[in-house]
Symmetry: C2
Subunit: 340 residues, 2 copies
């Protein structure tokens, strides 16, 4: 039997997680039982929302428990099957997280079609990341042709997808990101109409005024903090703010304080709505099919950064908060044995 | 011809308005022209939203212009008519504001039915105040039977109506107000399920936890500021925050700063939406008819404070911000000549 290596939550972080947050352990995998399969992990996902689950606060998903595996999206290969539904070599999607192997019930996994896109895309644009962009933008933001959509964290996995879907809807898209490289990517490869490098701007409000002469109808917010404070000053009447992420706040040790939003919302008859992709679980099939169609038609593109090695997972996770990466971050844990 | 006395915006207030904000002037009314009527004001409305119109900022309604009359709701009596639609003695509703007389076009006024309720009620529960409560609660808050609805500024004209409509919907209603007298009124006369006197509480979050054991599904916010900061910590999943007023912020001279809301909205998949009653102008008839039915059936009650005399209008307006009044504030400017 192979050895299963696992990454556990060792202690709850205060502020930025560090090496004490996680601990590695290992155990024998054991044998799959009736209707179970043994999976070897190929790709593990690292996502900003995982930071929230490390805190012991009531939220939309259960907090991680101490000394338990950090759960999250994985793509794996079936290496032994006692299920009629799966056979050795099947590529499956699961949510069992940061471990090299897993014995799954049939209901915990589903086969993925690796002919549409590389299997890692099922952790990104064809997975929860893409659906987060899809539902947040279309069901909450509801952009109309000709409207101005501003996206923060625009070069991230969610933000870069949001901007492209907004373009498909006929909106004018403005991306906010933190490096010139990211802004170049958004303009040149994803055809955003305008970008703002907030690191190079000493007056973000003015930069937004310049980039959004017709003001902001939809703001898809991945970051919170001062960037969002500035965008909120530029809302149009009946603007919709999609509150998807607040990465600026996740690792704060002091209260996250800024201008109160109530007066702006009244003056503009504007709304802010938070969500998590699970709110739309009843429509995942519809969303995934639409995303696959757009991807196949070349209307969507994506970038992913693949880091190597199970041991690197905690560091790759922490790099989400340094603001350097473009697109989706995944960790390659092992090579598939079968042909893709 | 009678003399028309008028109250003009003399200068834009910074912080709390004072005696320099307003100036009185007078002029001859002149003669009504063809299809016009001359109206003598009986009741003038004073409302918190007027503070916002004194600032020269883009908003949902045009700012007041310097040296122009402060516009707002009025009930008046037709004293001379050159319109086939109106005759002497008709009681009409207008929005020509703080002046003793006005020559109106037919389209600027409408007759009111003083048989349903005293004519002043058309500035309150049967007027814009009531519709503000009605649409904000039912179209944005959407309370369901058994849910918990929290109302701030609960003893005010809007808040006291919101709570009663929420009770009609079968919700559990918790009111936040600033005096024991107000809390007694809410519990004993309006049958709120619980009240919190925020002036007598040194831990508003704990008081909310005690008053809302099932947390908060709908928060109808008339005040903003620290009271709303506390309520937002107690939201349920999928909670709706109706942002109607931010009276705590209207007279601030420094930035209105507090805990940012983004992370809460994400964690709870909650929404905040600002509005003004004009957003629902297409449904005013429906709303007004429903309010009149509830009032006639005894399912709604209201309290109004009537102050006397045109000269008192600026002081009565300022008293809105001292937190002392219960229900709707109106100023009686003259006696009706005809029988009500």
């Amino acid at each position: 039997m192979p050895i299963n290596r696992k990454i556990l939550l060792n202690e709850r972080p205060e502020g930025m997680p560090d090496k004490h947050t996680f601990t590695f352990t290992e155990e024998e995998t054991g044998e799959p039982g009736e209707n179970q399969v043994l999976i070897r992990t190929i790709y593990a996902s690292v996502d900003p929302y995982m930071r929230g689950r490390m805190e012991n606060v009531e939220s939309y998903v259960e907090p991680y428990q101490l000394q338990e595996v950090i759960a999250g999206g994985v793509v794996g290969e079936v290496v032994e099957s006692k299920s009629a539904a799966y056979e050795k070599g099947d590529i499956v999607l699961g949510s069992y997280g940061w471990q090299t192997h897993y014995i799954a019930e049939e209901s915990e996994i589903r086969k993925i079609d690796a002919s549409i896109a590389p299997m890692s895309a099922h952790l990104g644009i064809l997975g929860m990341t893409g659906l987060t962009a899809y539902f947040g933008l279309l069901k909450i933001g509801k952009p109309q042709a000709g409207e101005t959509v501003v996206v923060s964290g625009a070069a991230g996995a969610v933000g870069s997808t949001v901007g492209q879907i907004a373009k498909i809807q006929g909106a004018r898209v403005v991306g906010i990101a933190g490096t010139d490289e990211k802004c170049d990517y958004l303009k040149n490869e994803l055809h955003f109409d305008a970008t703002i490098n907030y690191q190079e701007t000493d007056n973000l409000e003015q930069a937004l005024k310049d980039a959004c002469p017709d003001k902001v109808d939809v703001y898809y917010d991945n970051v919170g903090g001062e960037i969002s404070d500035a965008v909120l000053t530029q809302l149009n009447r009946k603007a919709r703010v999609v509150v998807c992420g607040a990465i600026s706040a996740y690792n704060l040790t002091k209260p996250d304080v800024g201008p109160r939003v109530q007066y702006i919302l009244i003056k503009k008859s504007a709304s802010m709505e938070g969500f998590t992709v699970g709110d739309f679980s009843g429509s995942f099939k519809e969303g995934a099919e639409q995303m696959a169609r757009w991807l196949a038609a070349g209307q969507l593109t994506y970038r992913e950064t693949i880091r190597e090695g199970f041991d690197s997972i905690p560091d790759v996770f922490l790099s989400l908060f340094s603001g350097d990466n473009i697109g989706k971050l995944v960790v390659k844990v092992s090579e598939p044995q079968e042909q893709q």
